[in-house]
Amino acid sequence: MDLLIDALGESFAPATAAFAIAAIGLNFHFGLTGLLNMGQAGFMLLGMYGYAISIRNGLPIWAAILIAMGTAIVFGAILGWPTLKLKGDYLSIVTIAAAEIVRYAGRSQTFVNLTGASVGIRGNEYKGPFEDLSPFPDERITVLWWTYHGSASNSWWLRLVAWTFVGLMLLVFWRLSRSPWGRVLKGIREDEDAVRSLGKNVYWYKMQALIIGGVIGALGGVIWSLGNSVQPDSMGRATTFWIWTLLLLGGAATVFGPVVGSIVFWTALSLVKGLAKLFIPESIMPSTVIEPFALMLVGVTLMLLVIFRPQGLLGNKKELAFHA
């Protein structure tokens, strides 16, 4: 029973929301426009740095969020400028490398005063102003079966804000994907040259898609950092692949796909880990192996999903299915 409650608690954890937001951003890239951005974690990390460093230097929250978004705009523009004129694969090569560059730059001792190098930035250096805004009491609160702190770190307050952000981003995606603007992006996903022949500036639209998706990714990073700390290695390649995984799991090009994918992914992961701990004796599988084992099981599930339901849980096979 505890196991189930823990797993269900994962379904609305701040990290789940943060990943859902990052996946909504990726949905602009891949789902709508067909851009293979393999560096979404880089956008998230930039958002985290942008926010944390701004707050540490005494800027108000709204300014810090704008700076987080601004770094993503600049990063997207720099990435897109040389690569969006080329065919799709080049973008994925450049984005995966660029995200690693951001991570290594963050780790490097050169910027230690800014980024804290590989140690990162501790939560209490930048979480204060956000937690001060909390309307909830400064103590642990139990709602139904779950007990979390009201305001500090992994709190009810962060959950409220995080899921409000998810809602807002869903609204943005819903509105844009059903607008003539979104229609141009879908056209580009299907065939760039056809859209060119209809008089649309394909390069400029791809740039807009890359930037808006990246900005949303950066916001996801901000949310994630408010529940954890800013640590460059938490935003490595694996993070990008998880975002891809849960987008494809939920269904690319759908409004709710990224959210459903994120919830199912994190809940399932927690459940598998819990069950493995419960039923597999220590002598067969020591607790240190449980984590990788759970990830492996999730991986197998995903392979089955891609084979038997390539459009994801909510997707439309006619519109967009994952095919290698």
Partner: protein, 279 residues
């Protein structure tokens, strides 16, 4: 039907000037490494005619087509469309200037519905701007106009019943029709058709021909690349023939095939020499 009167008095020689040319290309050269794929000294298309561009395989027709529509850039040469210089103009801008094209391998946007394909063809939709897209009242009125225009065209091209189906579910011929209808959404002055008959079943050929003739009746200019000589004779007012990258002949459809250079290009220079005894 071909109308001899609109091209009457034009000399059937390659590169001849036309009294009212909508499209002019001058000294266009496109080389791929050592191969000169296109080397057209001068070419003009008379306004409001159906002009066919023919030639044997590898003659450079499609490359020339890509150069004219901005999908490829020539190393040398200039061109004008309706008085605007074409040199260096990107394809989207060429389309906005009023010259839209279709593709030899049909490019229906398969993951989208027929209706969305059509809507995408329209110009001046303010909702295609990122910021305007957030505020539907700013683009709904235009969207309604576009939808109405799309319905008319879909009726005309007999695709109306299919409007909510995904374009990927259409047959090859229907995709050609959709591509042409979609191109018309932008109300072009000139339509460039790259092998409109390729892969179309014979039952649809007639209606496709009628649609092309209708374009001319509505005042548009049509330039098309085609292999099917029967079709070329049926509908084109003027025929330009390319071989080995060069424009080798021009003239009305009836007479151009009698041209010696054309016969040589298609059949080889010695096609009527009897070689049998010399072997």
């Amino acid at each position: 039907m071909p109308d001899p009167t609109i091209v009457a008095g034009i000399d059937p020689v390659p590169g001849v000037a036309k009294p009212d040319a909508i499209l002019v290309a001058d000294g266009v050269k496109r080389r791929f490494g050592g191969l000169t794929a296109v080397d057209v000294a001068h070419f003009e298309v008379q306004r409001n005619t159906i002009t066919a561009l023919i030639g044997p395989n590898g003659a450079g027709k499609s490359t020339f087509f890509n150069l004219l529509t901005g999908f490829d850039q020539a190393q040398e040469g200039t061109g004008t469309f309706d008085g605007q210089p074409l040199r260096g103009m990107p394809p989207a801008k060429v389309a906005r200037a009023g010259m839209v094209r279709t593709f030899q391998l049909t490019k229906a946007l398969e993951g989208m519905s027929v209706m969305e394909n059509m809507r995408l063809g329209a110009q001046d939709q303010p909702g295609e701007n990122f910021f305007t897209a957030f505020v539907p009242p700013l683009w709904r009125a235009r969207e309604r106009e576009i939808t109405e225009q799309a319905h008319e065209l879909l009726h005309r091209f007999k695709l109306y019943e299919k409007r909510d189906d995904s374009a990927g579910s259409l047959s090859g011929g229907q995709r050609k029709l959709l591509e042409m209808a979609r191109a018309l959404m932008s109300k072009p002055t000139m339509v460039m058709l790259d092998e409109p008959m390729a892969g179309v079943n014979p039952a649809l050929t007639e209606s496709l021909l009628d649609h092309i003739i209708e374009l001319k009746e509505e005042g548009m200019t049509v330039l098309f690349v085609e292999h099917d000589m029967h079709m070329v004779r049926r509908i084109s007012d003027w025929v330009a023939v390319m071989a080995q990258g060069k424009l080798i002949a021009e003239g009305p459809a009836g007479s151009v095939m009698q041209n010696e250079a054309v016969q040589d290009a298609y059949l080889g220079a010695h096609h009527d020499t009897d070689l049998g005894e010399d072997l």
